[in-house]
């Protein structure tokens, strides 16, 4: 110990005291004038990278329109690749919340990641805007006042289809979906309106996820005498099922209907003409005839090398719009989280899919319309989903969710 100790101690102590006194002011000032940090957890590698890319591109399109500023603050997007793996997605969530201290979090695509990050988000009071994952539970028993969803609950695109199919296609339906919970949930959602409308479930079957040969199932459908099929598949499963359904000649006698993912633009080119005439329910299609959507499609194509936006892009667009409008409403103040949450809950605007608003009971989007779409060949778009009918105001029942109204 030398003589300098006391002097050095005093110097250090005074600096520390000054820092402690000023710190909160500096931090608060920074909180309002620094950039608004938006954390994004999406898949950017692997087969689902196309989904993450569509969502991100649409968000960037909206933010670029505002020159990356809102209420006088810069917008900063911090993107993290979750690889569609829950351990990685959860770790990235921790990083964005604890290390980057993001103001708003968005993502993910994978329902397992959403369920895994739910408690961290809820307990740390971080605002999460879900931009894809459809797990029903997040609008039901696992809902949180800090979590909003701009995409859909798995229930939403399927439930209205039941009554519609019974009325307009056939009352004798065969159900088929991959053998996992989301598949079974969607089939159950369909039956909710199908059975009361006088529909009769001929049979149901659940091939394994990632099945490549649907011949045995298609034979079963043929022998069952059903007049229509309601199917949910996505990705390569959707490609294989729709193609084989056509190749086995079933399309002439049995009408194929399904959840929107069956013929979304990520699989439609690979399905080709086999998909013609397939009827699906979804909240979006790029050919929707409204001015906001027309502008969106035009801008999106111009910015991204003539790529047509899909439902995922619409989710990204709405996520970014919600963030912008809520931040404007609170004048860029992200410190008062309660006010920001209230502002998000009140956001309402014209989205490419229709009038966008959240359900105050669940913080899940109320789908302005579930469009019944038929795959047709259209001059400007090629093979695409053409809306032929719609069901308005589809809101998740939110069973078990106890958010204050």
């Amino acid at each position: 110990m030398d003589q300098l100790t006391r002097r050095r101690f005093l110097r250090t102590a005074s600096v520390a005291a000054a820092g402690a006194a000023v710190g909160p002011w500096v931090l608060r000032a920074e909180g309002q004038s620094g950039p608004v940090k938006i954390g994004v957890v999406l898949p950017y590698t692997g087969v689902y990278a196309v989904l993450g890319e569509s969502i991100t591109q649409a968000m960037e399109l909206v933010f670029a329109r505002e020159n990356w500023t809102v209420a006088g603050r810069k917008i900063e997007m911090i993107k993290e690749d979750d690889e569609m793996k829950p351990p990685v997605g959860i770790r990235k969530t921790e990083k964005l919340i604890d290390s980057d201290k993001v103001d708003i979090l968005t993502g993910p695509v994978h329902s397992g990641i959403l369920m895994g990050m739910r408690d961290k988000v809820h307990n740390s009071k971080t605002i999460l805007i879900v931009s894809n994952a459809g797990a029903d539970a997040i609008s039901r028993e696992r809902c949180s006042r800090w979590i909003f969803r701009t995409s859909f609950s798995n229930w939403q695109p399927c439930q209205p289809m039941g009554g519609w199919v019974a009325k307009n296609v056939s009352k004798e339906v065969f159900q088929i979906a991959p053998n996992y919970q989301a598949g079974k949930d969607m089939m159950a959602a369909f039956r909710e309106t199908f059975l009361p409308a006088g529909g009769k479930l001929i049979a149901e079957d659940y091939p394994k996820l990632g099945e490549t040969d649907y011949a045995p199932y298609i034979t079963k459908i043929k022998q069952s005498g059903a007049k229509a099929v309601f199917a949910f598949f996505s990705g390569t499963d959707a490609v294989n099922f729709v193609k084989q359904f056509d190749q086995f000649g079933l399309k002439q006698t049995v009408r194929l209907t399904g959840a929107g993912f069956l013929t979304e633009p990520d699989v439609l080119p690979a399905q080709g003409k086999s998909a013609l005439g397939v009827l699906t329910g979804h909240f979006y299609t790029p050919v929707l005839d409204n001015p906001v959507n027309k502008q969106f499609v035009k801008d999106f194509k111009a910015r991204y090398n003539n790529k047509t936006p899909d439902g995922f892009a619409c989710q990204g667009y709405d996520t970014a719009e919600v963030i912008l409008r809520a931040l404007k409403a609170v004048n860029g103040n992200t410190q008062a989280k309660d006010k920001l949450v209230d502002a998000i809950a009140r956001v309402e605007f014209d989205s490419p899919r229709g009038r966008f608003r959240f359900d105050p009971k669940t913080h899940n989007v109320i789908q302005p319309f579930i469009y019944v779409r038929e795959v047709r060949e259209v001059p400007e778009f090629g093979l695409t989903n053409v809306p032929i009918d719609k069901v308005a105001d589809v809101r998740d029942p939110g069973t078990g969710c106890t958010l204050p109204a």
Binding site: Y44, T45, E80, D81, K85, P86, P87, V88, I90, R91, K92, E94, K95, D98, S99, S111, G112, M115, G116, R118, D119, K120, A135, A137, R142, N179, Y180, Q181, A182, K208, L209
Partner: protein
Amino acid sequence: MIARLLGVGALVVAAAVFPAVAGAYPVKLLQEILVWGVFAMSLDLLLGYAGMVSFGHSAFFGIGGYVAALALKQSPHLLSALVLPALAAALAALVIGFFSIRVSGVYFIMLTLALSQMFYAYAFQVAWLGAEDGIIGVPRPRLLGLDLANATAFHLYLVALIGLAALVLWRVVRSPFGHVLRGIQENEGRMEAVGYAVQRYKLVAFVMAGTLGGVAGSLYTQFVGSITPDAFFWTTSGEALLMVIIGGTGTLWGALLGAGAFILLQSLVSSYTERWMLILGLTFVLFVLFAPGGIVGALSGRVGRRA
């Protein structure tokens, strides 16, 4: 020997006080590295000592994780957090091992892979395990009146357990039993000729590794508060193999270093570029080509004595 123990002790203390000097995210990363480190070390017992390349180690990680999740939801105590998951994983390892150790080489890889993927398929589909969403909202246990929901308490609990696991493994590989395993790796036929019951030794090693793998899975569940079927997926085994090989097989602490290198690469590099897989792949290729002894081999210039 004493110096080594002191060195390890210093490392444990450093890990224990890490939260005092680092932010929340680095601490989380350290905890995750430690959890995966235990898993990689348990695999190293098979891979680096007994010479058994198992591609089904994820089965035990998943079983430990799921049993812990189910049990902790019933009653958040030590029994649920550690004892039951370890027992379940041991039982599974006994059954899987009983069938798998009869074959070796590629057939052993395929058999362990197939058996572990059966667990994946099951967990992915059945409703009582939460299907593809897994089990969420798992509470942390209470231990000696200490609530592990507290971040500091949980960190110390993790460090202590992982230190203990490392100590146990270290004792095992240095025991006569460990030497027999090494002998089996070098020349199985000769060990049999000398009179060792090779199959029994292999089975015991398999059960030990499985049990510890189950403990790692259970710690992971407690760490994130949830578990999903991906825990069973073969990529979990594959990543653990990568960790062991990058770190250096047959060294135990190499597995820990490998876990650190893998998770840091995955977490930090991927924040900067979407091409982080390329960097990971190149790192792996470079290690295999130029440092077959892994990080540990490179550090000791490949002439140092084996642990």
